[in-house]
Amino acid sequence: MTPDGPIKLVSQLLDLPLLDSEGKYCGIVDDVELRGRPGQDVQLRALIVGPSAYKGRLPGWCMWLVKKVAGARETRVSMEDVRTISSVVHLKRPGPELGLNKSENAARRWLPNKGAL
Protein backbone atom coordinates (compact mmCIF):
# COMPACT_ATOMS: atom_id res chain seq x y z
CA MET A 1 0.00 0.00 0.00
CA THR A 2 1.32 3.46 -0.84
CA PRO A 3 0.80 6.47 1.44
CA ASP A 4 -1.12 8.47 -1.20
CA GLY A 5 -3.85 5.81 -1.74
CA PRO A 6 -6.98 5.27 0.39
CA ILE A 7 -6.14 3.93 3.88
CA LYS A 8 -8.34 2.48 6.62
CA LEU A 9 -6.85 4.43 9.49
CA VAL A 10 -7.61 2.12 12.39
CA SER A 11 -7.21 -1.31 10.79
CA GLN A 12 -4.34 -0.47 8.44
CA LEU A 13 -2.29 2.23 10.12
CA LEU A 14 -2.86 2.97 13.81
CA ASP A 15 -0.53 1.07 16.18
CA LEU A 16 1.70 -0.25 13.39
CA PRO A 17 5.47 -0.24 14.02
CA LEU A 18 7.71 2.15 12.09
CA LEU A 19 10.86 0.92 10.37
CA ASP A 20 13.32 3.52 9.11
CA SER A 21 15.34 3.35 5.87
CA GLU A 22 18.05 1.36 7.71
CA GLY A 23 15.54 -1.25 8.89
CA LYS A 24 15.58 -0.08 12.52
CA TYR A 25 12.45 0.09 14.66
CA CYS A 26 11.79 3.69 15.58
CA GLY A 27 8.39 3.82 17.25
CA ILE A 28 4.72 3.06 16.68
CA VAL A 29 2.01 5.03 14.90
CA ASP A 30 0.42 6.35 18.08
CA ASP A 31 -1.87 8.87 16.40
CA VAL A 32 -2.41 10.58 13.04
CA GLU A 33 -2.79 14.17 11.89
CA LEU A 34 -5.63 14.78 9.43
CA ARG A 35 -6.60 17.75 7.27
CA GLY A 36 -10.08 18.37 5.93
CA ARG A 37 -13.46 19.95 6.52
CA PRO A 38 -16.97 18.54 6.86
CA GLY A 39 -18.18 17.53 3.41
CA GLN A 40 -14.65 17.33 2.00
CA ASP A 41 -12.21 14.42 1.61
CA VAL A 42 -10.01 13.98 4.66
CA GLN A 43 -6.30 13.93 3.94
CA LEU A 44 -3.70 12.19 6.06
CA ARG A 45 -0.94 14.71 6.83
CA ALA A 46 1.36 13.07 9.35
CA LEU A 47 1.97 10.24 11.78
CA ILE A 48 2.37 11.14 15.44
CA VAL A 49 4.86 9.05 17.42
CA GLY A 50 5.49 9.13 21.17
CA PRO A 51 3.67 8.52 24.46
CA SER A 52 2.18 12.01 24.52
CA ALA A 53 0.07 11.01 21.52
CA TYR A 54 -1.82 8.48 23.67
CA LYS A 55 -3.89 11.43 24.96
CA GLY A 56 -7.49 10.80 24.03
CA ARG A 57 -6.87 7.08 23.66
CA LEU A 58 -6.30 6.32 27.34
CA PRO A 59 -8.07 7.36 30.56
CA GLY A 60 -6.57 10.37 32.37
CA TRP A 61 -5.06 8.41 35.29
CA CYS A 62 -3.39 6.09 32.80
CA MET A 63 -1.87 9.05 30.93
CA TRP A 64 -0.40 10.31 34.20
CA LEU A 65 1.29 6.92 34.68
CA VAL A 66 2.46 6.73 31.06
CA LYS A 67 4.04 10.21 31.30
CA LYS A 68 5.82 9.26 34.52
CA VAL A 69 7.21 6.06 33.01
CA ALA A 70 7.74 6.90 29.34
CA GLY A 71 7.88 10.71 29.32
CA ALA A 72 5.87 13.13 27.22
CA ARG A 73 7.81 13.08 23.96
CA GLU A 74 5.88 13.44 20.68
CA THR A 75 7.33 13.45 17.16
CA ARG A 76 5.54 14.32 13.93
CA VAL A 77 6.47 12.31 10.82
CA SER A 78 5.18 13.83 7.60
CA MET A 79 3.43 11.46 5.17
CA GLU A 80 5.99 12.59 2.58
CA ASP A 81 8.56 10.60 4.55
CA VAL A 82 6.51 7.38 4.38
CA ARG A 83 7.57 4.92 1.68
CA THR A 84 5.01 2.07 2.07
CA ILE A 85 2.47 0.74 4.53
CA SER A 86 2.12 -3.02 5.00
CA SER A 87 2.37 -4.93 8.29
CA VAL A 88 4.86 -2.17 9.20
CA VAL A 89 5.25 1.43 8.07
CA HIS A 90 8.48 1.82 6.07
CA LEU A 91 10.05 5.27 6.18
CA LYS A 92 12.19 6.89 3.49
CA ARG A 93 14.88 8.26 5.81
CA PRO A 94 16.85 7.16 8.91
CA GLY A 95 14.98 7.64 12.21
CA PRO A 96 17.38 10.23 13.71
CA GLU A 97 16.93 12.50 10.66
CA LEU A 98 13.19 12.53 11.38
CA GLY A 99 13.65 13.27 15.08
CA LEU A 100 12.91 9.69 16.11
CA ASN A 101 15.02 7.45 18.40
CA LYS A 102 16.02 10.33 20.73
CA SER A 103 15.17 8.28 23.84
CA GLU A 104 17.10 5.34 22.39
CA ASN A 105 20.20 7.50 22.00
CA ALA A 106 19.78 8.89 25.51
CA ALA A 107 19.57 5.37 26.94
CA ARG A 108 22.74 4.34 25.08
CA ARG A 109 24.80 6.59 27.35
CA TRP A 110 24.00 4.31 30.30
CA LEU A 111 25.65 1.24 28.78
CA PRO A 112 29.31 0.31 28.21
CA ASN A 113 30.14 -0.33 24.55
CA LYS A 114 32.13 -3.51 25.08
CA GLY A 115 32.10 -7.13 26.18
CA ALA A 116 29.70 -8.71 23.67
CA LEU A 117 30.78 -11.40 21.18
Binding site: L16, L18, C26, V88, S103, E104, N105, N113, A116
Partner: protein, 411 residues
Protein backbone atom coordinates in the same frame (compact mmCIF):
# COMPACT_ATOMS: atom_id res chain seq x y z
CA UNK B 1 17.57 -26.21 5.02
CA UNK B 2 20.80 -27.16 6.77
CA UNK B 3 20.26 -30.58 8.47
CA UNK B 4 22.78 -29.80 11.22
CA UNK B 5 21.09 -26.47 12.00
CA UNK B 6 17.70 -28.17 11.98
CA UNK B 7 18.85 -30.96 14.33
CA UNK B 8 20.39 -28.42 16.69
CA UNK B 9 17.19 -26.36 16.60
CA UNK B 10 15.05 -29.39 17.45
CA UNK B 11 17.40 -30.54 20.22
CA UNK B 12 17.42 -27.01 21.64
CA UNK B 13 13.61 -27.03 21.69
CA UNK B 14 13.60 -30.44 23.42
CA UNK B 15 16.11 -29.37 26.07
CA UNK B 16 14.32 -26.07 26.60
CA UNK B 17 10.79 -27.48 26.87
CA UNK B 18 10.66 -28.33 30.57
CA UNK B 19 10.65 -25.55 33.16
CA UNK B 20 10.14 -25.41 36.91
CA UNK B 21 6.31 -25.41 36.67
CA UNK B 22 6.19 -28.48 34.42
CA UNK B 23 8.68 -30.26 36.67
CA UNK B 24 6.62 -29.59 39.76
CA UNK B 25 3.18 -30.21 38.27
CA UNK B 26 4.23 -33.36 36.37
CA UNK B 27 5.68 -34.94 39.51
CA UNK B 28 2.74 -33.91 41.69
CA UNK B 29 0.16 -34.96 39.08
CA UNK B 30 1.68 -38.45 38.81
CA UNK B 31 1.81 -38.90 42.56
CA UNK B 32 -1.78 -37.69 43.14
CA UNK B 33 -3.63 -39.08 40.11
CA UNK B 34 -1.42 -41.82 38.64
CA UNK B 35 -1.39 -41.77 34.84
CA UNK B 36 -4.78 -40.04 34.53
CA UNK B 37 -3.38 -36.62 33.63
CA UNK B 38 -1.04 -37.72 30.82
CA UNK B 39 -3.71 -36.81 28.27
CA UNK B 40 -3.70 -33.20 29.52
CA UNK B 41 0.03 -32.97 28.79
CA UNK B 42 -0.62 -34.41 25.31
CA UNK B 43 -3.53 -32.02 24.71
CA UNK B 44 -1.59 -28.94 25.86
CA UNK B 45 1.48 -29.99 23.87
CA UNK B 46 -0.59 -30.12 20.68
CA UNK B 47 -1.83 -26.63 21.59
CA UNK B 48 1.64 -25.17 22.05
CA UNK B 49 2.78 -26.85 18.82
CA UNK B 50 -0.10 -25.23 16.90
CA UNK B 51 0.50 -21.74 18.31
CA UNK B 52 4.31 -21.94 18.10
CA UNK B 53 4.12 -23.00 14.46
CA UNK B 54 1.66 -20.16 13.81
CA UNK B 55 3.85 -17.57 15.53
CA UNK B 56 6.93 -18.82 13.64
CA UNK B 57 5.01 -18.62 10.36
CA UNK B 58 3.80 -15.08 11.08
CA UNK B 59 7.38 -14.11 12.04
CA UNK B 60 8.69 -15.58 8.78
CA UNK B 61 6.06 -14.11 6.44
CA UNK B 62 4.66 -10.93 8.02
CA UNK B 63 7.95 -10.36 9.93
CA UNK B 64 5.85 -9.45 12.92
CA UNK B 65 6.42 -10.59 16.50
CA UNK B 66 3.47 -11.26 18.80
CA UNK B 67 3.38 -7.96 20.68
CA UNK B 68 3.40 -5.79 17.59
CA UNK B 69 0.37 -7.72 16.39
CA UNK B 70 -1.30 -7.55 19.74
CA UNK B 71 -1.27 -3.78 19.93
CA UNK B 72 -2.37 -3.36 16.33
CA UNK B 73 -5.18 -5.90 16.64
CA UNK B 74 -6.40 -5.30 20.19
CA UNK B 75 -5.90 -1.54 20.24
CA UNK B 76 -3.93 0.55 22.73
CA UNK B 77 -6.15 0.05 25.83
CA UNK B 78 -6.61 -3.71 25.66
CA UNK B 79 -3.07 -4.07 24.36
CA UNK B 80 -1.68 -2.19 27.39
CA UNK B 81 -3.77 -4.33 29.72
CA UNK B 82 -2.41 -7.48 28.09
CA UNK B 83 1.12 -6.11 28.25
CA UNK B 84 0.77 -5.32 31.96
CA UNK B 85 -0.69 -8.75 32.74
CA UNK B 86 1.98 -10.48 30.69
CA UNK B 87 4.79 -8.51 32.39
CA UNK B 88 3.47 -9.59 35.80
CA UNK B 89 3.04 -13.19 34.65
CA UNK B 90 6.51 -13.41 33.07
CA UNK B 91 8.16 -11.64 35.99
CA UNK B 92 6.68 -14.07 38.52
CA UNK B 93 7.63 -16.97 36.23
CA UNK B 94 11.18 -15.64 35.91
CA UNK B 95 11.42 -15.30 39.71
CA UNK B 96 10.14 -18.87 40.08
CA UNK B 97 12.80 -20.09 37.61
CA UNK B 98 15.60 -18.19 39.42
CA UNK B 99 14.33 -19.62 42.71
CA UNK B 100 14.22 -23.10 41.15
CA UNK B 101 17.78 -22.85 39.80
CA UNK B 102 19.01 -21.64 43.20
CA UNK B 103 17.29 -24.54 44.98
CA UNK B 104 18.83 -27.07 42.56
CA UNK B 105 22.28 -25.54 43.03
CA UNK B 106 21.70 -25.67 46.76
CA UNK B 107 21.00 -29.44 46.46
CA UNK B 108 24.08 -29.94 44.27
CA UNK B 109 26.60 -27.87 46.22
CA UNK B 110 25.11 -27.15 49.64
CA UNK B 111 25.81 -23.42 49.06
CA UNK B 112 23.29 -20.94 50.54
CA UNK B 113 20.12 -20.43 48.49
CA UNK B 114 20.28 -16.62 48.58
CA UNK B 115 23.91 -16.58 47.45
CA UNK B 116 23.05 -18.93 44.59
CA UNK B 117 20.15 -16.69 43.51
CA UNK B 118 22.42 -13.64 43.36
CA UNK B 119 25.23 -15.58 41.65
CA UNK B 120 22.96 -17.14 39.02
CA UNK B 121 21.31 -13.81 38.21
CA UNK B 122 24.81 -12.43 37.60
CA UNK B 123 25.57 -15.45 35.37
CA UNK B 124 22.35 -14.89 33.37
CA UNK B 125 23.01 -11.18 32.84
CA UNK B 126 26.63 -11.84 31.87
CA UNK B 127 25.79 -14.69 29.49
CA UNK B 128 23.10 -12.69 27.68
CA UNK B 129 25.41 -9.69 27.42
CA UNK B 130 28.37 -11.68 26.13
CA UNK B 131 26.89 -14.46 23.97
CA UNK B 132 25.24 -14.04 20.55
CA UNK B 133 21.53 -14.96 20.37
CA UNK B 134 21.98 -18.45 18.91
CA UNK B 135 24.54 -19.36 21.53
CA UNK B 136 22.29 -18.21 24.37
CA UNK B 137 19.48 -20.36 23.01
CA UNK B 138 21.66 -23.38 22.37
CA UNK B 139 23.90 -23.40 25.44
CA UNK B 140 20.92 -23.62 27.79
CA UNK B 141 18.76 -25.76 25.48
CA UNK B 142 21.41 -28.35 24.66
CA UNK B 143 22.67 -28.67 28.24
CA UNK B 144 19.02 -29.17 29.25
CA UNK B 145 19.19 -32.43 27.29
CA UNK B 146 20.59 -34.04 30.47
CA UNK B 147 16.85 -34.27 31.22
CA UNK B 148 16.79 -37.34 28.96
CA UNK B 149 17.88 -39.25 32.06
CA UNK B 150 14.22 -39.03 33.18
CA UNK B 151 13.07 -40.93 30.08
CA UNK B 152 15.84 -43.51 30.61
CA UNK B 153 14.83 -43.82 34.27
CA UNK B 154 11.23 -44.51 33.31
CA UNK B 155 12.32 -47.32 30.97
CA UNK B 156 14.64 -48.71 33.68
CA UNK B 157 11.89 -49.03 36.31
CA UNK B 158 9.78 -51.11 33.87
CA UNK B 159 6.50 -49.27 34.23
CA UNK B 160 3.11 -50.66 33.16
CA UNK B 161 3.25 -49.39 29.56
CA UNK B 162 -0.39 -50.31 28.92
CA UNK B 163 -1.49 -48.04 31.78
CA UNK B 164 0.75 -45.25 30.51
CA UNK B 165 -0.76 -45.72 27.03
CA UNK B 166 -4.23 -45.58 28.63
CA UNK B 167 -3.28 -42.24 30.18
CA UNK B 168 -3.28 -40.66 26.72
CA UNK B 169 -7.06 -41.22 26.51
CA UNK B 170 -9.01 -38.25 27.95
CA UNK B 171 -10.47 -39.33 31.27
CA UNK B 172 -11.50 -38.37 34.78
CA UNK B 173 -10.60 -41.09 37.30
CA UNK B 174 -13.60 -42.88 38.78
CA UNK B 175 -14.44 -42.74 42.47
CA UNK B 176 -13.06 -39.27 43.25
CA UNK B 177 -14.73 -37.21 45.97
CA UNK B 178 -15.97 -33.71 45.05
CA UNK B 179 -12.87 -32.20 46.64
CA UNK B 180 -10.60 -34.53 44.65
CA UNK B 181 -12.53 -33.74 41.48
CA UNK B 182 -11.88 -30.04 42.00
CA UNK B 183 -8.18 -30.76 42.59
CA UNK B 184 -8.12 -32.84 39.38
CA UNK B 185 -9.71 -29.87 37.60
CA UNK B 186 -7.10 -27.51 39.05
CA UNK B 187 -4.26 -29.78 37.92
CA UNK B 188 -5.80 -29.93 34.43
CA UNK B 189 -5.85 -26.14 34.18
CA UNK B 190 -2.36 -25.77 35.74
CA UNK B 191 -0.80 -28.27 33.31
CA UNK B 192 -2.40 -26.52 30.31
CA UNK B 193 -0.98 -23.24 31.61
CA UNK B 194 2.49 -24.66 32.39
CA UNK B 195 2.83 -26.28 28.96
CA UNK B 196 1.37 -23.33 27.02
CA UNK B 197 3.15 -20.54 28.93
CA UNK B 198 2.83 -17.36 26.81
CA UNK B 199 6.55 -16.56 27.15
CA UNK B 200 7.36 -19.59 24.99
CA UNK B 201 5.51 -18.09 22.01
CA UNK B 202 6.91 -14.57 22.59
CA UNK B 203 10.43 -15.99 22.72
CA UNK B 204 9.98 -18.37 19.79
CA UNK B 205 8.51 -15.80 17.39
CA UNK B 206 10.99 -13.09 18.39
CA UNK B 207 13.78 -15.65 17.96
CA UNK B 208 12.53 -16.43 14.45
CA UNK B 209 12.78 -12.75 13.56
CA UNK B 210 16.22 -12.48 15.21
CA UNK B 211 17.41 -15.35 13.02
CA UNK B 212 15.97 -13.70 9.92
CA UNK B 213 13.40 -16.38 9.06
CA UNK B 214 11.60 -16.03 5.74
CA UNK B 215 9.13 -18.17 3.78
CA UNK B 216 12.01 -20.57 2.91
CA UNK B 217 12.23 -21.48 6.62
CA UNK B 218 8.63 -22.72 6.81
CA UNK B 219 9.68 -26.39 7.02
CA UNK B 220 12.31 -25.64 9.68
CA UNK B 221 9.65 -23.83 11.69
CA UNK B 222 7.19 -26.70 11.34
CA UNK B 223 9.70 -29.44 12.21
CA UNK B 224 11.19 -27.51 15.13
CA UNK B 225 7.72 -26.81 16.58
CA UNK B 226 6.35 -30.31 16.12
CA UNK B 227 9.38 -32.47 16.95
CA UNK B 228 10.99 -30.17 19.53
CA UNK B 229 7.81 -29.66 21.54
CA UNK B 230 6.55 -33.24 21.20
CA UNK B 231 9.86 -34.81 22.27
CA UNK B 232 10.21 -32.23 25.07
CA UNK B 233 6.73 -33.12 26.26
CA UNK B 234 7.71 -36.79 26.44
CA UNK B 235 10.32 -35.83 29.05
CA UNK B 236 7.61 -34.14 31.14
CA UNK B 237 5.37 -37.19 30.71
CA UNK B 238 8.28 -39.42 31.81
CA UNK B 239 8.51 -37.43 35.05
CA UNK B 240 4.76 -37.83 35.58
CA UNK B 241 4.80 -41.58 34.84
CA UNK B 242 7.83 -42.26 37.09
CA UNK B 243 6.15 -40.31 39.85
CA UNK B 244 2.96 -42.35 39.41
CA UNK B 245 5.00 -45.55 39.63
CA UNK B 246 7.40 -44.60 42.44
CA UNK B 247 5.76 -41.91 44.61
CA UNK B 248 1.99 -42.48 44.27
CA UNK B 249 1.81 -45.98 45.82
CA UNK B 250 3.81 -44.89 48.91
CA UNK B 251 1.94 -41.58 49.31
CA UNK B 252 4.98 -39.37 48.69
CA UNK B 253 3.97 -35.85 47.64
CA UNK B 254 6.86 -34.47 45.52
CA UNK B 255 6.26 -30.96 46.79
CA UNK B 256 9.77 -29.59 46.13
CA UNK B 257 11.59 -29.64 42.76
CA UNK B 258 14.34 -31.90 44.13
CA UNK B 259 11.89 -34.76 44.62
CA UNK B 260 11.65 -35.27 40.88
CA UNK B 261 15.41 -35.93 40.71
CA UNK B 262 14.92 -38.98 42.95
CA UNK B 263 13.10 -40.62 40.03
CA UNK B 264 16.48 -40.99 38.31
CA UNK B 265 18.35 -41.80 41.52
CA UNK B 266 16.20 -44.85 42.25
CA UNK B 267 17.23 -46.82 39.13
CA UNK B 268 20.65 -45.25 38.43
CA UNK B 269 22.00 -44.29 41.87
CA UNK B 270 24.27 -41.30 42.49
CA UNK B 271 25.03 -40.60 38.82
CA UNK B 272 21.34 -40.70 37.96
CA UNK B 273 20.70 -38.12 40.66
CA UNK B 274 23.53 -35.88 39.46
CA UNK B 275 22.46 -36.07 35.81
CA UNK B 276 18.84 -35.36 36.75
CA UNK B 277 19.84 -32.34 38.83
CA UNK B 278 22.10 -31.05 36.05
CA UNK B 279 19.32 -31.49 33.49
CA UNK B 280 16.89 -29.67 35.77
CA UNK B 281 19.46 -26.95 36.43
CA UNK B 282 20.07 -26.12 32.77
CA UNK B 283 16.43 -26.56 31.70
CA UNK B 284 15.20 -24.23 34.44
CA UNK B 285 18.09 -21.79 33.85
CA UNK B 286 17.13 -21.71 30.15
CA UNK B 287 13.54 -20.95 31.13
CA UNK B 288 14.74 -18.09 33.40
CA UNK B 289 16.58 -16.55 30.45
CA UNK B 290 13.63 -17.08 28.09
CA UNK B 291 11.05 -15.55 30.45
CA UNK B 292 13.17 -12.46 31.06
CA UNK B 293 14.01 -12.01 27.38
CA UNK B 294 10.36 -12.62 26.42
CA UNK B 295 9.34 -9.82 28.78
CA UNK B 296 11.92 -7.43 27.33
CA UNK B 297 10.83 -8.39 23.79
CA UNK B 298 7.18 -7.71 24.67
CA UNK B 299 7.80 -4.29 26.17
CA UNK B 300 10.17 -3.19 23.36
CA UNK B 301 7.87 -4.44 20.61
CA UNK B 302 4.81 -2.83 22.16
CA UNK B 303 6.48 0.60 22.23
CA UNK B 304 8.35 0.21 18.94
CA UNK B 305 11.86 0.30 20.42
CA UNK B 306 14.92 -1.18 18.76
CA UNK B 307 15.06 -4.74 20.09
CA UNK B 308 16.90 -8.00 19.70
CA UNK B 309 19.97 -9.81 20.93
CA UNK B 310 21.27 -10.19 17.36
CA UNK B 311 22.42 -6.61 17.92
CA UNK B 312 25.16 -5.73 20.41
CA UNK B 313 23.55 -4.79 23.76
CA UNK B 314 24.43 -1.11 23.34
CA UNK B 315 22.83 -1.05 19.86
CA UNK B 316 19.40 -1.76 21.41
CA UNK B 317 19.87 0.20 24.64
CA UNK B 318 16.29 0.43 25.93
CA UNK B 319 15.80 -3.29 25.26
CA UNK B 320 19.05 -4.09 27.09
CA UNK B 321 18.25 -1.88 30.08
CA UNK B 322 14.79 -3.48 30.23
CA UNK B 323 16.05 -7.09 30.47
CA UNK B 324 18.66 -6.12 33.06
CA UNK B 325 16.02 -4.36 35.21
CA UNK B 326 13.64 -7.30 34.82
CA UNK B 327 16.31 -9.74 36.05
CA UNK B 328 16.96 -7.49 39.06
CA UNK B 329 13.22 -7.27 39.81
CA UNK B 330 12.87 -11.07 39.58
CA UNK B 331 15.88 -11.45 41.90
CA UNK B 332 14.32 -8.95 44.31
CA UNK B 333 11.17 -11.10 44.44
CA UNK B 334 13.28 -14.19 45.23
CA UNK B 335 15.23 -12.30 47.90
CA UNK B 336 12.02 -11.42 49.77
CA UNK B 337 12.14 -15.06 50.85
CA UNK B 338 8.85 -16.01 49.20
CA UNK B 339 8.52 -19.77 48.76
CA UNK B 340 9.48 -21.02 45.28
CA UNK B 341 6.44 -23.29 45.18
CA UNK B 342 4.16 -20.32 45.83
CA UNK B 343 5.85 -18.47 42.95
CA UNK B 344 5.24 -21.48 40.72
CA UNK B 345 1.55 -21.52 41.68
CA UNK B 346 1.14 -17.81 40.94
CA UNK B 347 3.12 -18.05 37.70
CA UNK B 348 0.78 -20.73 36.44
CA UNK B 349 -2.32 -18.83 37.58
CA UNK B 350 -1.32 -15.51 35.98
CA UNK B 351 -0.19 -17.17 32.77
CA UNK B 352 -3.48 -18.92 32.10
CA UNK B 353 -5.28 -15.58 32.55
CA UNK B 354 -3.06 -13.97 29.88
CA UNK B 355 -3.17 -16.87 27.42
CA UNK B 356 -6.40 -16.01 25.55
CA UNK B 357 -5.30 -12.41 25.00
CA UNK B 358 -1.90 -13.62 23.77
CA UNK B 359 -3.21 -16.10 21.29
CA UNK B 360 -6.22 -14.21 19.88
CA UNK B 361 -4.32 -11.63 17.77
CA UNK B 362 -1.93 -14.32 16.61
CA UNK B 363 -4.81 -16.49 15.47
CA UNK B 364 -6.47 -13.58 13.67
CA UNK B 365 -3.30 -12.48 11.88
CA UNK B 366 -2.17 -16.00 10.93
CA UNK B 367 -5.50 -16.36 9.14
CA UNK B 368 -5.32 -12.97 7.40
CA UNK B 369 -4.52 -13.46 3.72
CA UNK B 370 -3.66 -9.77 3.26
CA UNK B 371 -0.51 -10.23 5.31
CA UNK B 372 0.07 -13.98 5.13
CA UNK B 373 -0.80 -14.58 1.44
CA UNK B 374 -0.61 -18.32 0.60
CA UNK B 375 0.86 -18.99 4.06
CA UNK B 376 -2.37 -18.00 5.88
CA UNK B 377 -3.98 -20.62 8.12
CA UNK B 378 -5.63 -23.42 6.16
CA UNK B 379 -8.88 -25.09 7.29
CA UNK B 380 -7.16 -27.52 9.71
CA UNK B 381 -5.04 -24.81 11.38
CA UNK B 382 -8.15 -22.59 11.61
CA UNK B 383 -10.31 -25.26 13.26
CA UNK B 384 -7.56 -26.40 15.64
CA UNK B 385 -6.57 -22.81 16.44
CA UNK B 386 -10.11 -21.74 17.40
CA UNK B 387 -10.71 -25.01 19.25
CA UNK B 388 -7.63 -24.39 21.39
CA UNK B 389 -8.63 -20.79 21.85
CA UNK B 390 -11.93 -22.05 23.31
CA UNK B 391 -10.05 -24.51 25.56
CA UNK B 392 -7.67 -21.91 26.98
CA UNK B 393 -10.50 -19.41 27.44
CA UNK B 394 -12.44 -22.04 29.40
CA UNK B 395 -9.31 -22.84 31.43
CA UNK B 396 -8.74 -19.11 32.12
CA UNK B 397 -12.32 -18.70 33.38
CA UNK B 398 -12.03 -21.76 35.63
CA UNK B 399 -8.50 -21.03 36.92
CA UNK B 400 -9.18 -18.55 39.75
CA UNK B 401 -12.21 -20.37 41.25
CA UNK B 402 -10.34 -23.69 41.13
CA UNK B 403 -7.23 -22.11 42.67
CA UNK B 404 -9.29 -20.68 45.54
CA UNK B 405 -11.45 -23.78 46.10
CA UNK B 406 -8.47 -26.15 46.17
CA UNK B 407 -5.97 -23.85 47.92
CA UNK B 408 -3.70 -24.05 44.91
CA UNK B 409 -4.17 -27.78 44.34
CA UNK B 410 -3.40 -28.70 47.93
CA UNK B 411 -6.94 -29.86 48.67
Amino acid sequence: MNPLELTLGIMTAVGGFVDISELVFAAKAGSKFGYALIWVFALATLGIIIFSEMSGRVAAVAKQPVFNLMRHRLGLKLGLLTLAASIVSNLITCAAEIGGVSLILNYLTGAPYVLMAIGMTAVFVTSIWVLPFQWIERVYGLLGLFMIVFAAALVAIRPPWNQIGGGFVPQVPAGLTNKELLTFGYFTVAIISAVMFPYEVYFYSSGGIEEGWGPKDMLTNRLTSVLGMALGSLLAISILASSAQLFGPVNVDPEIPGSAALEAAIPFGKWGLILALLGMLFAVAGAAVETCMANAYSISQFFGWVWGRHKKPWEAPRFTITWIILFLLALAIVLTGVDVMMLVEFAVLFSILVLPLTYLPLLVLAGDKTYMREYANGPIAKVLGWLYFAIITGAAIAAVPLFVLTSGGNG
